[in-house]
């Protein structure tokens, strides 16, 4: 403690002064943020703004999980990566960008796919998890793991000209399985790489994911639990809808079914959703 009732150094006071000036955020919000740790799964279209804003705002420790490398066709939306990193691991590129805008935070790189075998260990080390992945099995796996280890999950998605955002497993709220107990048919699971996406749409959703993570980490504001934001870029309309609470019948978070660590590790998410956790990129043969 500096004797002023907080731990902020003069450098930090300077850097975060526009946060400290906010009566509803202030020294207390910033201090909590600086002590928080946030894991971002996916350093792509959603992960780019999530990571940049979390690094900039002073999230104390930032973990990044991604097994992919930067490709030219990512560049239209994955603004954290520069052309110089094409062909290199996204995690490395993203971590370098985070450091370059804020050298005072800690960045941890996980250059590997998230799987049931490593998820518990990695995710346990963080206070908050941000799902910025691009496929259904990962979304089920990350949510289930968050329930098992009791962490809040900020979940965002974007395809085409639409985006969706909500917070799962927060303060008694629902988990992903409460909302979607049965996986959709694989034909309904379009990914950005297959179906296309307007680059700035994951930008909007990613910024909103960073905001939700900041609200949870700082204890300021009302996180989007039991609520969902539906974004339609074409019309510019955003709906804020009320969704169900935790389901007593949920097989993962419900009354009679506390999913154990072992059950989680043995669950076959690829078989459950009939799709791969690390899908192969589609080779585009346009024209």
């Amino acid at each position: 403690d500096s004797g002023y009732g907080h731990d902020l150094s003069p450098q930090m006071i300077h850097r975060y002064s526009r946060h400290l000036l906010l009566p509803s955020f202030g020294v207390q919000g910033q201090s909590k943020l600086l002590k928080s740790s946030i894991l971002v799964v996916g350093a792509g279209g959603l992960g780019s703004p999530v990571l940049l804003y979390l690094a900039a705002c002073g999230a104390g420790r930032l973990g990044i999980v991604d097994h992919d490398v930067v490709e030219l066709n990512n560049m239209h939306r994955q603004i954290i990566h520069t052309e110089g990193f094409i062909g290199q691991p996204k995690v490395k590129s993203a971590a370098a960008a985070c450091h370059s805008i804020n050298s005072t935070i800690q960045v941890v790189e996980y250059q590997e796919p998230l799987r049931t075998s490593n998820a518990l260990e990695i995710m346990s080390k963080y206070d908050i998890v941000v799902d910025a992945t691009d496929n259904a099995p990962s979304r089920y796996m990350i949510s289930d793991c968050c329930v098992v280890i009791g962490k809040p999950l900020v979940s965002g998605a974007a395809v085409g000209l639409e985006g969706q955002l909500t917070v799962f497993n927060y303060n008694g709220g629902p988990c992903y399985r409460c909302l979607f107990p049965t996986p959709p048919p694989t034909t309904a699971c379009q990914r950005c790489s297959d179906a296309g996406v307007l680059g700035v749409v994951p930008g909007v959703i990613g910024c909103l994911q960073a905001l939700e993570a900041i609200k949870i980490a700082s204890g300021v504001g009302e996180p989007l639990s039991e609520r969902m934001l539906l974004f339609d870029a074409f019309s510019g309309r955003i709906r804020n809808v009320k969704i169900r609470g935790r389901s007593l019948q949920c097989v993962v978070c419900g009354e009679n079914a506390p999913f154990s660590k072992q059950q989680f590790q043995e669950f076959d998410y690829e078989n459950f959703t009939q799709s791969p956790l690390t899908p192969l990129p589609l080779k585009l043969n346009l024209l």
Binding site: V159, E162, F180, P184, C192, L230
Partner: protein, 108 residues
């Protein structure tokens, strides 16, 4: 709307999103008049789903419904509220209600 028997007709706004609009000629917003069945005094979501399947869905109905309800991965919202909170298939609809069907997205 028939002015003499407006009771038997219900004006609703239906919206499809997250790709479901592709099943209805890529039109997202539909202002519709749903006629109530002979003798019926109310319209439930169950009735509406069967009306939609007959009147709106042009192709691949299995991408919208499974059995008599929406397929897994589709959220149904009545006036911006999850239908799980209002009784799911038994939810009673009122004049000018807005019903949204949205397919969950996985991309990023």
């Amino acid at each position: 709307v028939c002015k003499l028997c407006s009771f038997y007709n219900m004006q609703l706004t239906l919206e499809f999103g997250g790709g479901l609009e592709l099943l209805c000629n890529s039109v997202k917003i539909h202002n519709v008049n749903v006629e109530l069945q002979n003798g019926a005094e109310k319209l439930t979501m169950k009735d509406l789903l069967s009306w939609i399947r007959t009147n709106l869905i042009k192709e691949r109905p299995e991408m919208f419904m499974k059995g008599d309800t929406v397929r897994p991965g589709v959220l149904a919202l009545v006036n911006d509220c999850d239908w799980e909170l209002s009784g799911q298939l038994d939810t009673t609809l009122e004049e000018k209600d807005v019903v949204v069907f949205i397919s969950t997205l996985h991309g990023g």
